[in-house]
């Protein structure tokens, strides 16, 4: 008799270990040490969430009841991995290029980014996955109970006790912590994936250990076990029913492709498409190993344990019966691993779908102009995702309580498989058939789903729970050919095969027929072409027409969804690709396309499309795009692609030339103004000096004079002389910097000290309005190796500018530091009016002033800052879309500089 407390301690310790693994992986990923996280082996092991507690415990039970039939569950995925590799490759490629976040997103994206379809698939996935989560909870509860039960012959009480609750709560917490760290569902959850991989090793090792013990410890070697199998009355009578075998294999293959959790690990979490190559042989190997000892364990269990012992628990009860408690613990941990990893990944996958395809569309509809004005979208999505995780796990628990945990493990799993397989026709059709339409997909999925509910899912609760017993026996209203288990009068079939046959056939027929009968919308055609020819010609159709929208507005929206630094990096990259400097690319169709894809990585294709459409104002599909879709001739495609590349190059050059020309024109005007400016700046203080020195000279000549006046006039002369000197200093400084004659005084320091110093210096001697400065000292703890005096000069200038030009009633300056990568960035953001778009690239020129502001200064400060940053190997730029005026200083990080 094993103490349950010990079991609880082991469980808790194991979970703590998983937390540590996930946490370490997240840390390693954050620090950029991802080499071993990106290994194809981790990917392969993560695929093993296909083998849940159902396969861990249930396969042995299955073998004990139905012989070798359990192999079909492994045969399906193996066939897919080996025989349909090219199809998988295409699926994965599309998933990555289109930034697909889930199976629902895939279907919706293919069929014209339809929100309705996405929501439908999501509902289907939730309904299909719930029984499966219940199954995992049940397996953990049963296995705990098996330890408490001294006599394996007694039926294990299906005790829906505290165990299931605790497991559910613990899993929800783990998943919320590690599954919603970043919003972009397309980014890998390194922690989760690593934990899953570790669990995959644990379950394989546990099952192999039990198998080795059974074969060599009990039976006495490989030869002996074969004899026992031959002799076993249950297993020797192999019943191989061809139809059922084919049906089950097909079902397992379909589920392997369509299960939300499989899609999550196979497509969404994939780092590198080449990993699929390794997985295509390594995953079947894993499956082979895990199924190797199933039959021996079943045989020994049937022999050694009294009749009536639950075969689903042989993996546990056989070691227990032979007094091997350590081995039993290991087996328990294996089963526990299998159960928890499935629930975690399924919850992540479903929560992404629910938040992207149900919560976000509703939220968008409620806040009509939402995309551009209202609050933080990231917050909404995050919250939706966390709540959905809790909701999904709770649903699983609820199903477990309702169904009473009575049915054999394998049966529930197969029901879930059949449900989720309804997505298959629309998915495969969408990948390979251009003629597939949204209406077809919807009709097929809805029809198949309804039939599955009626013929399999609802009856599975037992007579009179959902469907009345009379309906089950005689059909609705006494119509015999509508009986759930004997549709259209076909009797005698296994209920599962019966349901799969009918639901998938009707599904496929509806899908084909409606697709042929309906006409796809332009967007569906475009998406269809992109999906079907995914591995062929790159690029292809474009759906946005640029122009109407302000890039700055897009940036405001993108920052809310992607987060400021990702959005800024994206805009900067795109601007550079267009040959422009700064952060604002032109709103070209290509750029909108890229932006939409990035957004869809966070909120799904349909939602991203709707948000962008709100801002850009509807999409247009041009005649050329449709022609490109219709055009099948590879030669013409290639030719036009080449032309397009040339044209793109020309457009790029033209854009650069235009920008250079505009800048030259402006510069020439400015050069002309330069002499004027310099004359003005020098003459103004000189005027005061001359006038007052003449006054002083003549004082007393014609009458008495006031000594106070004399002192004041002298101090005016003094101040103006200093102003002149400062101006000359600035001019000389600038000239030295521009000619590159400056020698840098490189020292070490920390960013926070430098900002302290700059804030103090900028505050001294100024009596302007009180400027409140907001800082995050934690983020500023960054080491610097640079010319600290020069960098400080830049900071002082920026702070002083905010003091002078920020016209807010309560002026405030936010200084925000960021580092970690190759660059250190420091943003200075005030809450004033900001700088108009057309002046943003002029402010760094000499004597540039915004509008008519004359708040002292000669207009050389930012020009000097720009030169200094260039000398220090960094940049300073205006950062649009931040509310007020915002400047970003970028500096190479310590390592980069030290390496030079």
């Amino acid at each position: 008799m094993v103490s349950l407390n010990l079991l609880a301690v082991i469980c808790f310790g194991y979970v703590a270990f998983l937390f540590a693994v996930a946490f370490a992986a997240e840390r390693a990923a954050a620090a950029g040490r991802t080499a071993w996280l990106r290994s194809p082996w981790v990917y392969t092991l993560s695929l093993s969430i296909y083998c849940t507690a159902w396969t861990f415990y249930g396969a042995v039970g299955y073998a004990a009841r139905s012989g070798l039939e359990f192999l079909t569950i492994y045969l399906g995925p193996t066939l897919v991995m080996v025989g349909w590799w090219w199809g998988l490759n295409k699926l994965v490629h599309i998933g990555r290029t289109q930034r697909i976040t889930s199976i629902a997103d895939l279907i919706s994206s293919r069929y014209g980014k339809s929100s309705l379809l996405a929501a439908g698939v999501t509902v289907l996935a939730v309904v299909g996955t719930t029984p499966y989560i219940a199954l995992q909870l049940q397996s953990v509860t049963l296995s705990v109970a098996a330890f408490a039960q001294p006599d394996p012959a007694q039926p294990v009480p299906a005790d829906p006790s505290a165990t299931a609750v605790w497991v559910a709560v613990g899993l929800a917490i783990f998943t919320v912590i590690f599954g919603t760290r970043n919003l972009d569902a397309n980014e890998r959850h390194h922690g989760v994936v690593m934990a899953i991989a570790v669990e995959a090793v644990v379950k394989l090792f546990a099952l192999l250990a039990v198998g080795v013990f059974v074969v060599w410890g009990i039976a006495g070697g490989a030869g002996a076990i074969v004899e026992r199998i031959q002799a076993s009355p249950e297993l020797s009578a192999w019943r191989i029913d061809g139809a059922r075998w084919a049906g089950l294999t097909f079902l397992a293959a379909a589920a392997f492709l369509c299960l939300p959790r499989m899609f999550q690990v196979m497509v969404v979490e994939l780092e590198d498409e080449r990993h699929l190559r390794t997985a295509s042989w390594a995953f079947p190997l894993y499956v082979f190993l895990i199924s190797l000892f199933v039959v021996p364990i079943a045989v020994v269990g049937l022999e050694a344990l009294p009749a009536g012992a639950n075969p689903d628990l042989f993996v546990l009860t056989v070691p227990l019966a032979f007094g091997q408690e350590g081995l039993a613990f290991l087996a328990f941990l294996g089963g526990f691993s299998a159960a928890t990893s499935m629930v975690i990944v399924a919850a992540i996958a479903l929560s992404t779908m629910v938040s992207n395809h149900i919560v976000m569309p509703i939220w968008l509809r409620l806040t009509r102009r939402g995309a551009s004005v209202s609050g933080d979208v990231r917050h909404v999505v995050m919250l939706a995702r966390r709540l959905s995780i809790a909701g999904v796990v709770f649903l699983g628990y609820l199903y477990y309580r309702l169904s009473g945990g009575g049915a054999a493990l394998a049966a529930i799993g197969l029901i879930a498989f059949a449900g989720i397989a309804q997505v298959l026709p629309a998915m495969i059709g969408g990948l390979f058939w251009r003629g597939a339409t949204r209406n077809g997909a919807m009709a097929g999925i809805a029809g198949g789903f309804a039939l599955w509910l009626y013929t399999l899912f609802l009856p599975s609760f037992g007579p009179d729970v959902v469907l009345p017993a009379a309906l089950m026996a005689e059909g609705p209203f006494g119509i015999g050919w509508l009986r759930p288990y004997a549709l259209f009068g076909i009797e005698g079939l296994d209920p599962l095969i019966h349901s799969v046959l009918w639901s998938l056939s009707i599904n496929t027929v509806l899908f084909l027929a409606v697709s042929l009968a309906s006409f796809p919308e332009p967007l569906e055609r475009l998406q269809g072409a992109q999906f079907v020819s995914a591995l062929g010609t790159p690029g292809g159709a474009r759906s946005w027409q640029g122009g109407a929208v302000q890039t700055e507005d897009l940036m405001v929206m993108a920052q809310r969804i992607l987060g400021p630094s990702e959005a800024q990096a994206l805009f900067r990259r795109e601007a550079a690709r267009q040959g422009l400097g700064g952060y604002l690319p032109e709103a070209s169709p290509e750029f909108l396309e890229v932006l939409e894809r990035e957004l869809s990585g966070s909120v799904g294709a349909a939602t991203a499309h709707a948000m962008l459409a709100q801002m850009v104002g509807g999409m247009q599909v041009s005649v050329q795009d449709l022609l490109a879709v219709a055009d099948e001739t590879a030669q013409i495609m290639e030719y036009s692609a080449r032309l397009e590349a040339q044209q793109e190059e020309l457009t790029r050059t033209a854009r650069q030339l235009r920008e250079a020309n505009e800048k030259l024109t402006r510069l020439s005007v400015q050069k002309d103004a330069f002499l004027s400016q310099i004359s003005h700046e020098l003459r103004t203080p000189m005027t005061s000096i001359r006038a007052f020195s003449e006054i002083l000279r003549e004082m007393g000549k014609d009458g008495p004079f006031d000594p106070d006046d004399q002192a004041r006039y002298a101090s005016i002369i003094h101040d103006e002389a200093i102003r002149l000197t400062r101006l000359l200093d600035d001019l000389l400084d600038l000239s030295v910097l521009e000619n590159g004659q400056v020698s840098l005084n490189i020292r070490e320091g920390t960013l926070s000290d430098l900002i302290d110093h700059a804030v103090a210096t900028a505050a001294a001697g100024e009596d302007g309005p009180d400027l409140r400065i907001r800082r995050d000292r934690g983020a500023e703890r960054l080491p610097l190796v640079t010319d600290l005096d020069r960098l400080s000069q830049v900071f002082i200038n920026l702070i002083a500018n905010a003091r002078k030009y920020c016209l807010s009633e309560a002026p405030q300056l936010t200084i925000r530091a960021g580092g970690g990568g190759a660059w250190i960035t420091v943003d200075f953001i005030d809450n004033g009016q900001g700088i108009p778009r057309e002046q943003q690239d002029m402010i760094f020129e000499k004597f540039a002033r915004i509008g008519d502001q004359e708040a002292g200064g000669a207009g050389l400060g930012l020009a000097i800052c720009r030169e200094i940053m260039a000398r220090l190997g960094g940049t300073i730029a205006y950062l649009p879309g931040q509310g007020g005026a915002a400047f970003r200083v970028r500096l190479p990080a310590r390592a980069a500089l030290a390496a030079q």
């Binding site: 003459r683 103004t684 005027t687 000096i689």
Partner: protein
């Protein structure tokens, strides 16, 4: 009763210097530092002489002068333009706009005084 001069100039030290020079000579001196509202001040005050800077906040001295010359009551008002921009084309611009006298900064106090006296007439 001294004659009235309006100084339109935004640099406070220069304003103070001119005020001192003219005040000592018995002038009534008013000042205005904003280009945008300079014309309204002129209409309201009707000075005998105006001293006008070129680079003013809100509106340039050239524009003020041009508009002033096209107004009935102000067309003949004597205007002394002071500018820190010393280029020849600035002088031309000022003359085309109808300036009475044109001086570059820095100026000699005596010259300013002489010019203002002369423009105000007997």
């Amino acid at each position: 009763m001294g004659k009235h001069v309006l100084v339109i100039e935004d640099e406070p030290n220069i304003v103070e210097a001119i005020r001192f020079i003219l005040h000592r000579d018995g002038w009534r001196v008013d000042t205005h530092s904003d280009g945008a509202t300079a014309l309204e001040a002129l209409r309201a005050q009707r000075p005998d002489v105006v001293i006008l800077d070129v680079m003013l906040p809100g509106r340039s001295g050239f524009e003020i002068l041009r508009e002033l010359r096209s107004e009935d009551g102000l067309a003949n008002l004597p205007v002394l333009m002071l500018t820190a921009r010393g280029q020849a084309k600035d002088r031309e611009t000022a003359e085309r706009a109808g300036v009475s006298r044109y001086m570059t900064k820095p100026f000699s106090n005596a010259e300013v005084l002489a010019a203002v006296r002369e423009m105000a007439g007997p």
